[in-house]
């Protein structure tokens, strides 16, 4: 089934935040961000700005009626800077004007005097200076100290892992307007409406029931609108509250790039020990997460790095520590994979370096150590229905890895200035919010008298197709066509206390809540039908909008059944509640069962490098992926393709550049490059692994949003291998992204 939004999308009729028609008297907001990355605000002069016609108000932190605080997990982030600034672009003031143009013009006229302090950009430097956002955490299994002596090979190394700009094409924004008596309605481009509601309530000093947040859809998010949308929504709401007027705030691209956090860059050191038969016996790593100036979601992201720091492998002895380092960059935040890609890059680097040192094939080490059934993860959970080995083996067979190797070797022999390389990336990704309490959801379902169905959940549609899957769930449970089901906007007045749509769990959590609600309604309707047919409700089913008795048509249509139920005063509304069973996690021990299940897969990426110019092309991406029993393979394959290309972008061309003063240099689409259609791999082939799915996945269809992103890591190693084929002196480097600059320098590097 196609995305239910497609027709609206291709005709340009789908509505995004900035498309909501402005109410009369709507004012426009623009943000003054700090020009420097670290310093003291000595003076703010708004006189010139206020002189501009049509400037209505300039809001500073002193205007905030409630708390000047937007930190979601740790309270360490003001909405508007008070006396100090901690990153370039940090919001200091909000200008409200009659037009967007004037608002931005006025921003340029505000004069801020700073006393500039030195900025810290590098996480290791921050760590050295004792600048941590919160205490480090460590996961352990077995005992590494005692194992090193048993290792035949011990290899050490370092990684530098780049961040990533979300580059959703729709920038951040919000539209807030007063309804009456201090009640405010806010449209926000957010993945987390409740976070927005809570933040606004706090900033305005109001109870949450005074704030209604509504989201129709987002023009892309990828994690960038999970936490970071709240601040911008709070600014629009604050202005609207102070002026009692509708206020719209949409960020120009440069502001969005400068003011919002990104995927965390990490720096780290690893030590890996193997036996003579290439079993990994011990692994230690210290990772320095570049958290930026405030905690934001870093504690949770750090946690997921820990969870995924052993990749798809069983390693009996581990010790992994992650430090969240406070730097003068915008607070880094959620991004598809949520810390897992960095953890996995580190373990893959360790394996690649070990293979290079021992002089064996990387895939031999990889395959020897893949998770098997009942293997214990560092965090105590056991691998169940572990498909890691199956996926790896299938990839090798289906795509004939031996012939790929041969062809590449032959090509490299025959071409002096063009070299090919490939790499394999096995995947194991845990599904659930690692914070157990967030794994809950509600769905409100109404069946109207005419038989049409309305569904409200906490899920945010941002392109991942969750609304389509929800419509399918309702249709599957109720036995009606998807066109009878309307998935409504996500609204805090209809569905309260929501978790953000994140962690790949949107369809699982909300779909299961919807399934529960729909089932309750179905059972009620079955009773009604049983009454009508004078039979046992157990013999009733509904299929194709028709009531069946013992599987045979009863002559009662869905419409008639619904109307009869209503006339019999049967409740046709239901609020389903779902809380993922089984999961728990004890942070004091760092052990538990945090994930409902894991998603497995393996990908191969091949590349061709132009060794004269240092440029490259991604040739093929070949995957075996564990979708469970996909309820929508069209959408799921779309997620694979999109995630893979985004993952390849992260490891190849997407380079965040900050100068030493913490100023973002890659501040536009012209200087921060994301994949375009020409850069897309020649082929992406994905074979679904045939399984029964998992009972905790919605309709046994496994979560899909984040996991395939990690296949992109293979692009990095594939390019490294091509470089190696050209430059015999080349020693593997672990420094993402592998831009054409790095490729060229490495191709012509003399000695390591």
């Amino acid at each position: 089934m196609k995305n239910i939004d497609s027709i609206g999308h291709v005709t340009g009729k789908s509505i995004y935040l900035d498309d909501i028609p402005n109410q009369q008297g709507t004012l426009h907001a623009a943000i003054l961000g700090s020009a420097i990355a670290h310093g003291k605000i000595k003076n703010i002069n708004v006189d010139e700005a206020l002189k501009l016609n049509d400037v209505v108000k300039i809001i500073l932190y002193t205007d905030i009626p409630g708390d000047n605080q937007i930190g979601g997990i740790i309270e360490d982030e003001p909405l508007l800077a008070e006396n100090e600034v901690h990153y370039q672009g940090q919001p200091i003031a909000i200008v409200i004007a009659e037009t967007e143009r004037i608002a931005h013009k006025a921003v340029k006229l505000i004069k801020v005097d700073f006393e500039e302090f030195s900025a810290v950009v590098d996480p290791r430097e921050a760590k050295q200076k004792g600048l941590l956002l919160f205490p480090p955490r460590t996961f352990k299994l077995g005992n590494t100290d005692e194992t090193w002596k048993d290792c035949a090979h011990i290899v050490e190394g370092s990684v530098e892992i780049g961040g990533q700009e979300h580059m959703y094409i729709e920038t951040q924004g919000a539209y807030a307007y007063p309804i009456e008596n201090g009640y405010i309605k806010v449209h926000s481009s957010t993945q987390g409406p409740t976070a927005v509601q809570k933040t606004i309530a706090r900033v305005l000093g109001l109870p949450m029931h005074q704030i209604e947040v509504d989201v129709v859809r987002l023009g892309g998010a990828f994690g960038g609108k999970e936490d970071q949308a709240s601040g911008f929504a709070a600014m629009a709401a604050l202005a609207s509250y102070l002026l009692n007027k509708p206020v719209k705030l949409t960020l120009p691209r440069h502001d969005d790039m400068r003011m919002t956090g990104k995927r965390h860059p990490y720096s780290g050191d690893f030590k890996i020990g193997l036996s003579t038969d290439l079993k990994i016996l011990a692994f230690e790593t210290d990772l320095y997460q570049n958290g930026g100036a405030a905690s934001d979601l870093s504690p949770a992201i750090l946690e997921r790095t820990l969870f995924h720091s052993t990749g798809s492998y069983y390693i009996p002895n581990t010790r992994v520590t992650v430090y969240s380092c406070k730097t003068n960059l915008p607070p880094n935040t959620a991004f598809r994979g949520f810390g897992a890609p960095q953890g996995m890059f580190a373990i893959e680097s360790a394996i690649a370096k070990a293979a290079e040192t021992i002089n064996v094939k990387v895939i031999d080490i990889q395959q020897k150590n893949l998770l098997a059934e009942n293997d214990e993860f560092q965090y105590g959970q056991k691998a169940e229905n572990a498909n890691a080995q199956e996926c790896f083996q299938l990839v090798k067979e289906k795509f004939n890895i031996e012939s790929i190797t041969k062809e590449i070797n032959l090509f490299n022999q025959n071409n002096r200035y063009t070299k090919k390389g490939y790499a394999v990336m096995p995947l194991c990704f845990g599904i659930s919010f690692t914070n157990t309490s967030m794994n809950q959801a509600r769905a409100l379902v109404h069946i109207y008298q005419d038989g049409s169905v309305s569904v409200s959940t906490a899920a945010i549609e941002m392109g991942q197709g969750v609304n389509t899957k929800l419509a399918q769930v309702a249709s599957m449970v109720l036995g009606i066509d998807t066109n009878k089901v309307k998935i409504h906007s996500t609204n805090t007045s209809r569905v309260a206390n929501t978790s953000p749509t994140a962690a790949s769990s949107g369809a699982d959590l909300n779909g299961n809540a919807l399934r529960i609600a729909a089932n309750a309604l179905l059972n009620r309707l079955k009773e009604v039908a049983a009454g009508m047919l004078k039979c046992d409700a157990k013999s009733i089913s509904i299929n194709n909008e028709e009531v069946l008795q013992n599987g045979k048509p009863s002559g009662i249509s869905w419409k008639k059944l619904v109307l009869t139920a209503h006339l019999q005063r049967v409740c046709l509304s239901e609020n389903g509640h779902y809380a993922t069973p089984v999961i728990y996690f004890d942070k004091t021990k760092e052990k538990g069962h945090p994930f409902a299940y894991h998603v497995y897969g393996t990908g191969i990426i091949t590349t061709t490098v132009d060794c004269i110019r240092g440029t490259y092309k991604i040739d093929d991406v070949l995957i075996v992926h564990d979708f469970g029993k996909s309820i929508n393979l069209t959408i799921d394959q779309g997620q694979i393709e999109g995630a893979v290309v985004q993952g390849i972008g992260w490891t190849t061309m997407e380079e965040l550049a900050f100068d030493k003063n913490g100023r973002l240099l890659s501040n536009s689409l012209s200087t921060y490059k994301v994949p375009d259609i020409h850069f897309a791999p020649n082929t992406i082939k994905c074979i679904p692994l045939e399984t029964e799915g998992h009972e905790l996945a919605v309709m046994r269809s496994k979560a899909i949003g984040e996991p395939p992103f990690m296949y992109g890591i293979a692009a990095y190693f594939a390019i490294q291998n091509a470089i190696k084929a050209y430059n015999p002196n080349h020693k593997l480097k672990f420094d993402t992204p592998i831009t054409p600059e790095k490729v060229l320098l490495q191709l012509y590097e003399k000695e390591d």
Binding site: K2, N3, D5, S6, I7, H9, V10, T11, G12, K13, S14, I15, Y16, D18, D19, K105, M167, Y168, I169, E170, T171, R217, G219, G220, A221, F222, R253, R416, G463, G465, I612, T615, T634, I635, G638, E641, G642, A643, V644, V645, Q646, M653, E655, L665, S666, S668, L669, K673, V674, P675, D676, I677, F679, A680, P681, I684, T739, P740, L744, L745
Partner: protein, 462 residues
Amino acid sequence: MIQFILNNRLVETDKKPGMSLLDYIRYEVGLPGTKVGCREGDCGACTVLIGELNNNKVDYKSIVSCLTPLVNVHGKHVVTIEGINLENDLTPVQKAMAENAATQCGFCTPGFVMSFTGFCMNHEKPTTSRAIESVAGNICRCTGYKSIQRAAEDITRLMQDKDIKNPVDWLVSKGYLPKYFLSIPDKLAEIHSKTEIPNNSEITVAGGTDLMVQKSDIVYESTIRPTKEIEHLQKIKFENQTCIIGGAATVTSLLQTEKLLQSIDGLRDYLMLVSSEPVRNIATIAGNIVNASPIADLSIMLLALNAQISSEIDGKVNTQPLDQLYTGYKQLKLQKGELITEIRFELPNANQQFNFEKVSKRQYLDIASVNSAMVIKVENNTITDCRISAGGVAPIPLYLQETSQFLIGKKISEQLFDEANDVMQNEISPIGDVRGTVEYKRLLLKQLLFAHFAKLFPDKMN
């Protein structure tokens, strides 16, 4: 008063001529299908089509509306996504996008649909690679593009029997466009008047693809001299072997000049490396020269071709070689208000060869880290004439005079290349920036010099 047809109706507006078409469409008229992604020509979310009347037919092309000042669409037909929607059906382009699941969040989608529709409306034989080129200026962060490529294949297949002489009629008859398109030629013919060009205009605007990025505020507030409105600047012509490019000719018009493509080997591929189709459709050669970016691709090519620049101020005409035009970073020997009227160069003759190299982080729609062009004449294995230029290695687009001179009279060999590189490294002065470190740019230019020779004389460089 600016007049044009927006979708199916005539609009007249006294909005500022420097207002962006995007702002006008979205916020003045209230058509929200055209999206704002970057306002810098780099994402394609704002793509619309403009049609121009030529011999009673309207020719359409895609443009980025964010960089197009309103004055530049005077007398034209502007088509947004709302203007191609059919009443009760999807167009085949829209169907191909929907059926291939080539839309996820949908924010980029109207832009893709418009670019593909522009592809359908052109006068070329449809091929999948052209279809893909037509959307190469559209960024999608969700799909990974494979589904969009599949849509491109479907669209190309459907277009195989398109009437390339009368694409619009054909497209209307097949349900790609609403019927009102048939009445557009007559409606456009009714807009006679040109916009008045103010006598004392403060700023000359051509395509706007540099100006609107760098100083849209100033363009908005200034009186504008649009070079698009100066008739004799639009053409590309030839006098014997001299090519004469008008001061308002666009990059796309180079691509449509057969004689140029035939005379300069590989030119089509090189021009494809310049920005993207909806930018090339409006970006001018003169704008590229005057903007004086050190990595300007066209300036680099024209330096190797030894172009001569004619300009005009107060009725006086000056002609100077391009390699003398730049005096420092963004400094040119042109007075304020001086108008480039012509760019002339000799087409390479049978003994001469041309090559262009450009490396950027992303191959397409990106600014070069370093680029270089070479025109070389080799007789009896000896270089008898040579002009090499390089961008991104100096404050200006640089003609490598010493390196070029050094090579003349020498025989091509790997060793010569090393010696030439030594000369060249002394001639350049790159700075480190977001497009590369000094070390990288030096190495890269060395490699590009090698690439020139390896490409043109593969047997001598192995």
